[in-house]
């Protein structure tokens, strides 16, 4: 069984960022970049499926400038078998990514596509859903548990939704997008990182795949969010206990 895991290179979750003065975006000069945390969770899940013997091959895919290769190398270090980069310097939006993935899926024919639910830089939460629409495959988003059937032709996914959990069953091939509580990603061992540096990556371009990148989306302005209110000082322990009880936390 072949699994596709699209990964994205984003600003590190712990990096301090500033909005550019002309409101065109976030200042990315000299800021630490790393893999999208939700995509790390997706890679971890795919590698676990491979270790259980359910999957044979895990392909990590990324799109963007050449610097995105580092994200592929860290995915390879965690356990992916192949790395594919769709090299382009043009800005990408979820529809373009979905179209590129659609073309790749039609040629490589994976059984499962697992990805993070959203990227922490644009928070679109659209790629998995758009890809499912383009490929006409079933989808399960916000997965917190994935179980592949014995016969490897269907999958049962538990989703986190408002108000609880929902379990869906669908035939493969399918698309799953991962939520935070699916698993805890591992740290790659240094030896694997060294090995991953030597692996040959497959490079493609949107022209190779024959995809016209969607340019209909334009960022009008980027502003800092309003400061969240909240956080007040307490004087006695009884106040805290009463509030905890009110929120049914204890």
């Amino acid at each position: 069984m072949k699994i596709f895991v699209p990964v994205k290179r984003v600003i590190d979750y712990a990096a301090k960022i500033r909005v550019r003065p002309d409101k065109s975006g976030v200042d990315t000069n000299g800021v630490r970049m790393s893999t999208n945390p939700f995509d790390e969770i997706a890679i971890e899940e795919a590698v676990r499926l491979k270790e259980k013997g359910i999957a044979k091959e895990v392909v990590a895919i990324t799109m963007g400038p050449k610097a995105s290769e580092e994200v592929l190398r860290s995915s390879l270090a965690i356990g992916a078998d192949q790395g594919v980069i769709v090299n382009t310097d043009k800005p990408l939006n979820p529809l373009s990514v979905a179209k590129l993935l659609q073309k790749l899926a039609e040629t490589e024919k994976p059984n499962l596509i697992i990805m993070g639910k959203q990227a922490i830089d644009d928070d679109c939460n659209q790629t998995a859903q758009m890809l499912a629409g383009l490929l006409k495959w079933p989808q399960a988003t916000f997965a917190s548990k994935i179980e592949i059937s014995e016969s490897k032709d269907s999958v049962k996914v538990t989703r986190e939704i408002d108000g609880g959990l929902e379990t869906l069953s669908m035939k493969l091939p399918a698309i799953i997008s991962c939520d935070l509580r699916l698993n805890e990603p591992r740290y790659a061992k240094l030896a694997n990182i060294m090995k991953a540096k030597k692996v040959q990556l497959t490079t493609k371009t949107p022209e190779d795949l024959g995809v016209q990148l969607n340019e209909n989306l334009k960022i009008v302005s980027v502003e800092e969010p309003a400061k969240r209110s909240g956080g007040s000082k307490v004087t006695t322990v009884d106040d805290i206990v009463a509030s905890l009880k009110k929120h049914s936390l204890i």
Partner: protein, 158 residues
């Protein structure tokens, strides 16, 4: 004394290696160990010392590997390379004079424990920051923690 010299050599070369060069450590390592084996071969050709030399080589390799792993974690983690390097390097250097494999193994075990602690700290920090950013229920509770009327928000959805 020979051991300290070799360790300083190792650590300084490690710092070079840690910056994005392809780690073909054999090139730099061989010069280090060959100077060491020169010292050994000049003395009596004792098989016991040769055995100790190969043991020490493995241990040296293990120590170097763990140090490199710590630097890698420093780059990944929110603590930063500088913080980890400032804490780790003095401790490594203070133990550089050890020759007994047992004592060195105890130090190695301690380093592996510290590495696990740093990884766990990282995981927790990442999980909690993502939860704070993306879990609306959690944010609401944080904001309204001390407020009087909780009946407004859904009391079922937890």
């Amino acid at each position: 004394m020979f051991k300290t010299y070799k360790f300083i050599n190792v650590v300084s070369t490690t710092r070079l290696m840690v910056s994005n060069r392809s780690i073909n450590s054999s090139g730099i390592n061989i010069s280090g160990s060959s100077s060491g084996s020169h010292q050994f071969s000049s003395s009596n050709n004792n098989t016991e010392k040769d055995h100790q030399n190969s043991d020490n080589k493995e241990l040296r390799y293990a120590v170097k590997n763990l140090y490199k792993h710590l630097m890698y974690l420093g780059r990944l983690s929110f603590l930063g390379v500088d913080y980890i390097r400032d804490k780790a390097k003095p401790q490594f250097m203070a133990n550089s004079h050890l020759t007994d494999p047992k004592e060195i193994n105890i130090c190695l075990e301690r380093t592996k424990y510290v590495i696990k602690e740093i990884e766990a700290l990282n995981r927790l920090h990442k999980y909690r920051s993502l939860k704070k950013s993306y879990d609306h229920e959690f944010q609401k509770i944080n904001d309204d923690f001390l407020s009087a009327n909780i009946g407004d928000s859904n009391s079922n959805s937890r």
